[in-house]
Symmetry: C2
Subunit: 204 residues, 2 copies
Amino acid sequence: MMKNQTQRAPGRPRHTKDDPPIQEMIIQTASKRFMEYGYEPVSLHQIAEACHVSKPAIYYHFSSKPELFKVAVTSVLNNVHQHIARILEDAEHLEAGLVSVAEARLTNPHAEIETMLREAEPFLNEEQIREIRLAEHHIYQVLADQFQAAMDNDMFRSNDPMLLAHTFSAMLMLGNRKDALQKYTTNEALAKEIVSIFLRGASA
Amino acid sequence: MMKNQTQRAPGRPRHTKDDPPIQEMIIQTASKRFMEYGYEPVSLHQIAEACHVSKPAIYYHFSSKPELFKVAVTSVLNNVHQHIARILEDAEHLEAGLVSVAEARLTNPHAEIETMLREAEPFLNEEQIREIRLAEHHIYQVLADQFQAAMDNDMFRSNDPMLLAHTFSAMLMLGNRKDALQKYTTNEALAKEIVSIFLRGASA
């Protein structure tokens, strides 16, 4: 939660809410670290050091490590959501859109969000968990909307669009298995193959 | 690595290699903890406490935490491999076998192994990583063998059987998303739906 202090308390670092780059930098650094290493192994001390700020500077912007985690992770999820929505909107047809989404995801594989959240949840309060889950849900919803449209057009057989969204998303985890799938020399080739299996699986 | 000492050194705990239950108990406890929380958050101290043994007792059986991790994780992977091989062997046909595998996995979802290994790898040596990866590979191989047979029978269209093995395995990660998929009231219903999508995706 951002603190809405309008005056700098004595001894507080010289970063106010009018100084968004610092806050942005903390969020971006925290996002990278949390997504790479999970919640517990990352300390606010490390984040402060990487940002060249003091630990109090972080506490000035974020009330706690769980709060920073929530802001960082929802920020990543919101970016993913917007990116996927834009790709699907700009695509000529569903298959092309899904290949682009798959390729983007295979190029930037990251920790399985579910595993990371499960590890982090004991440290978060209900509201923080709820906000993260909602941001995650929006990603599946944008895919589910496309799949519902494909069902309405009789392109897909009738199914639970949310199940298809989760299935497609799970298949993209193959980006983390590249060592085992060296046959696919480009992400594009692997993306096309995954989308092909998915579309045949979902088709009417 | 098990130490091959035949005589108990003075001050060593009273557990020798002729005393497998203690060693088994350490492996089982370590497996559960590592699979649930990942490598770093789990300490040998916690494992010793849960087993009601001293930390030196753990060091008597395992030279280091990375070594115990390797033994614990390969033990889990070998069990999964044997379990899957048995299910597929006993099944009347491929679809029934895959539904059983899926149902078993959905009932016992665990951390995405790839995420856990990536977190642990900085602490492991090359040989330990190689042994874990090999144990993991055997699981995919038993699936890939079935898919290759399905291609030989023209039941599946020609494809990379290892890609299909990884795809199917990735789809089973949906077991970790049950909150989002409450529509499927039983694991059996969800397993059947996932296998149906997969088989359509792979079919000739």
